[in-house]
Amino acid sequence: MTALAQRVPSRFLPVLATVVLFVLAFGVGSARYDGFASGQVVANLFIDNAFLIVLAAGMTFVILSGGIDLSVGSVVALSTMVTASGLQAGWPVPLVIVAVLLIGSTLGLLMGLVIHKFDIQPFIVTLAGMFLARGLCFLISVESVSIKDKTFRAVATAAIELPGGVTITYNVVIALLVVAAAMYVLHRTRFGRTVYAVGGNESSALLMGLPTTRVKVGVYVISGLCSSLAGLLFSLYMLSGYGLHAVGMELDAIAAVVIGGTLLAGGVGYVLGGLAGVLVLGTIQTLISFQGTLSSWWTKIVIGVLLLVFIAVQRTMVRR
């Protein structure tokens, strides 16, 4: 029932609110803690969460289409494992990268096909995918595997100097490129718009003659691809492969996307919302580690409370 004048901003309100909140939280941190108000702290938010940003971008597609992908965390772990053991076995870096991306998208494709062809709920299928991917990690090795490859290490440790003495890593650049690409695909291509249509009303989209099959399967391929790419970034970040990497990361990704204003029911949301959501989660963590006096349990409670404050404030901002 919003009047015409408010229409356009109202769509962006959740994302906007999240961004405003992020800035506010950052202000609070700067006022309270020495060394918080530095460009490097912001840069670290990106460096430490590059993989999550990529995951959230992929997850945005899936959630917008009305689905959910619980397998992403495990696919990240599997990707690190394949990367590490592939490099250990002496595969060339490009081959490893291609293999990892291929494995991720194939898994996504398989899950998408099962979901669509047999009409099984995405929750179950991707949960099975989650078990499978993690199980495959342990089949490769139950121990963690170090990455000793020179090229890989060079890329991982390389720092890109930005003005003001701030440094970032290649991971950040890749993550931002992924976000840009996701935005382009989602907002500018027919495929992207169809994702919204399918999420808004699947049977209508079908009756409108839109290629729902392609979209419903496609989003899982994209999410799988993003997960494996995130896995590569994670390998760079950790320089190791391990079956217990990224446990529960799917929840972080989903939370980030939803905090960014995307509706879990599908059809409403933006890639940038996911990015903002990741930054909010990252800021919460940074605030806590700057505080540095919280016991383990207070840490959890404070994370929960901050999360609550964020979403409650966001709700009230959006409602207004």
């Binding site: 309270r32 803690y33 020495d34 060394g35 530095s38 490097q40 702290v41 670290n44 460096i47 430490d48 590490a84 990690c137 342990f138 139950v142 121990e143 963690s144 595997v145 170090s146 990455i147 000793k148 290490r153 991982a156 440790t157 994670f234 970040y237 950790m238 320089l239 190791s240 492969g241 391990y242 079956g243 217990l244 990497h245 990224a246 446990v247 529960g248 963590q285 940074t286 806590i288 580690s289 700057f290 505080q291 540095g292 006096t293 919280l294 016991s295 383990s296 349990w297 840490t299 959890k300």
Partner: protein
């Protein structure tokens, strides 16, 4: 209140400690020891809980670098994957101490010293005891820790290494109980039904062993007699069971590293030389030893 971080030049030492989490009583005891000893030693402690995630530990370390603490200490969950962030610490001239477990890096200049126990050695100790105490054919069931977790891998490895010497001893079933009591109980229940004969339970920690005891009792058998139990850790509940005769042997894994850690930290910050490896004092307990040790047990 918001603590501020004085830089190295100041009189007090600031230590950033990145704990793995609070996933077990052992870990909580470890945390408490570090917090208490830091206070006693007058060291300003920045503590963070990584909720069992390595990436969170890395983030915490990175934020300590940002806050310019005087020394960083942490218990790496996994051996691998620390090079990047430790390199950053090295560039920022902040010394690093590892506790609890070492890391797998070719570059030993990334950290000053490593203080902690050796999980493989713990497994070996358990194996030794069994080899010494087993007579005739012995069937063993193993309750593993979380699949893939370093202590689980190593305690299994060390144990197998030793019992290989005696072909009579066979591990007939091995399953993960996720280091928890209910996991240990459930797995043990199933073993009791699927295995015709079980002589020994080897549990990767006390909690799973305590769960197994419950299962054994429920099956109408006597733990410690009908089925012998070996565990690792020696937390208070485990020691009590050991003293009561329900567990037969415990390999200690000492969480009280606080004092040694603070001493090391002071030396490291002062630029003194420290040994590259400091092993914590850890023993083993039989039932008799447990009875005498129990009263002074702090955790």
């Amino acid at each position: 209140g918001g603590g501020t971080a004085p830089s190295n030049g100041g009189g007090t030492i600031t230590m950033g400690f990145a704990q793995v989490g609070a996933e077990s009583g052992w870990r909580t005891a470890n945390t408490k020891s570090i917090q208490d000893e830091a206070k006693a030693a007058g060291i300003d402690l920045k503590f963070s809980d990584a909720q069992q995630k390595q990436e969170n530990q890395i983030k915490a370390i990175r934020s300590y670098i940002q806050q310019k603490v005087s020394v960083i200490a942490f218990s790496p969950v996994v051996e691998t994957g620390w090079d990047t962030v430790l390199l950053e610490a090295k560039r920022a001239n902040i010394p690093v101490i590892l506790t609890d477990r070492s890391i797998d890096s070719d570059d030993t200049s990334l950290y000053k010293t490593f203080l902690g126990s050796d999980f493989v050695e713990e497994g070996r100790k358990a194996g030794d005891w069994l080899v010494a105490n087993a007579s005739g054919p012995t069937t063993v069931v193993e309750l593993q820790g979380t699949t893939g977790a370093a202590p689980a891998n190593d305690r299994k490895k060390g144990f197998e290494e030793k019992i290989a010497a005696k072909p009579d001893i066979k591990v007939v079933a091995s399953q993960t109980g996720d280091f928890t009591r209910s996991g240990g109980k459930q797995v043990m229940e199933a073993f009791l039904k699927s295995q015709p004969k079980i002589d020994v339970v080897y549990a990767h920690n006390d909690d799973m062993g305590l769960g197994a005891i419950e299962a054994i009792k429920a099956a109408g058998k006597v733990p410690g007699k009908d089925i012998k139990i070996i565990t690792v850790d020696a937390v208070k509940d485990g020691m009590t069971a050991l003293a009561n005769g329900e567990i037969n042997f415990i390999v200690e894994c000492n969480p009280l590293l606080g004092k040694q850690l603070m001493d090391l930290a002071k030396k490291v910050v002062a630029g003194e030389d420290v040994p590259a490896r400091v092993v914590t004092e850890e023993g083993t307990f039989t039932q008799e030893q447990a009875k005498t040790a129990l009263p002074q047990r702090q955790y």
